[in-house]
């Protein structure tokens, strides 16, 4: 959860995910309906010039969705937006982070908190970057 008295520049707790595993990509293909074989079939990946399968970009966005819901609760995620800037490989450990960018008071007892969010790999490279908007309730 987020601390009280948020201000721009505040950092969210980090979410460190398990290493990306082949079985996870198979599950994600099935659960999402994205059957592009570049994510699940090594031959297809190699014919595309890769060493092995790569993760679905949407999986890393899912990790950022998890970051936002852990901050705000499932009812309070307003928006999540990302750009996929680098590939995610098997074994990569992604860490999701957020920094508060803007806070807007709403007419009710809530504020809308805009965060920069990103997922970075174990080398510190940002693989997926974007923004999230969450509702945070003020008061007691």
């Amino acid at each position: 959860m987020l601390p009280k008295n948020l201000k721009p520049g505040d950092e969210s707790p980090s979410l460190v995910k398990e290493p990306v595993h082949k079985v996870q990509l198979l599950k994600y293909a099935g659960a999402s309906g994205d059957y592009n074989l570049i994510h699940t079939d090594v031959e297809t990946a190699r014919s595309a010039g890769l060493d092995d399968v790569i993760a679905h970009g949407m999986l890393s966005m899912g990790f950022l969705g998890q970051l936002l819901t852990e901050l705000a609760g499932v009812e309070n995620v307003r928006r999540v937006q990302v750009r996929f800037s680098a590939m995610v490989h098997l074994g990569d450990v992604l860490t999701c982070k957020g920094v508060v960018k803007q806070i807007t008071s709403l007419p009710d007892d809530r504020t809308l908190v805009l965060l920069d969010v990103w997922a970075e790999n174990q080398k510190g490279e940002k693989v997926t970057t974007g923004e999230g908007e969450i509702y945070v309730r003020q008061g007691p």
Partner: protein
Amino acid sequence: MSAELPTVGACSEPEVFEVERGAIRKFAEAIGDPNPAYRAGDVAPPTFPTTFRVRVPGFQVDPSRILHGGEEYRYERPIRAGDRLTCVRRVAEIYVKQGRLGPMTFVVTELEGRDGEGNLVVHGRSTTIVR
């Protein structure tokens, strides 16, 4: 292989998606998100609309030539089990950029998911890059 690109404004037929508990659970499990509301299948994680696969007419490209550039979901309310969402996908924008390996075409589509009363639940925006 040749690519067939859509035109701006091209729009899918409306398609109804019934949000099932089991589908929510499997989706959360694949992401590795332990949130009890997801694991119970009550509420869908924020990226669940990726399962609403709606084709835009006139968009046929070999998957090996496609990159997913970006994605956005904006919610009016969370998606819950039992929702029946009518989804429409429309081509919002197409532009070309020069990449290192030649021109790349960016196709931006927007998705609207509405409930039975016609209220907007989720708005999505997706960028597909065709090499």
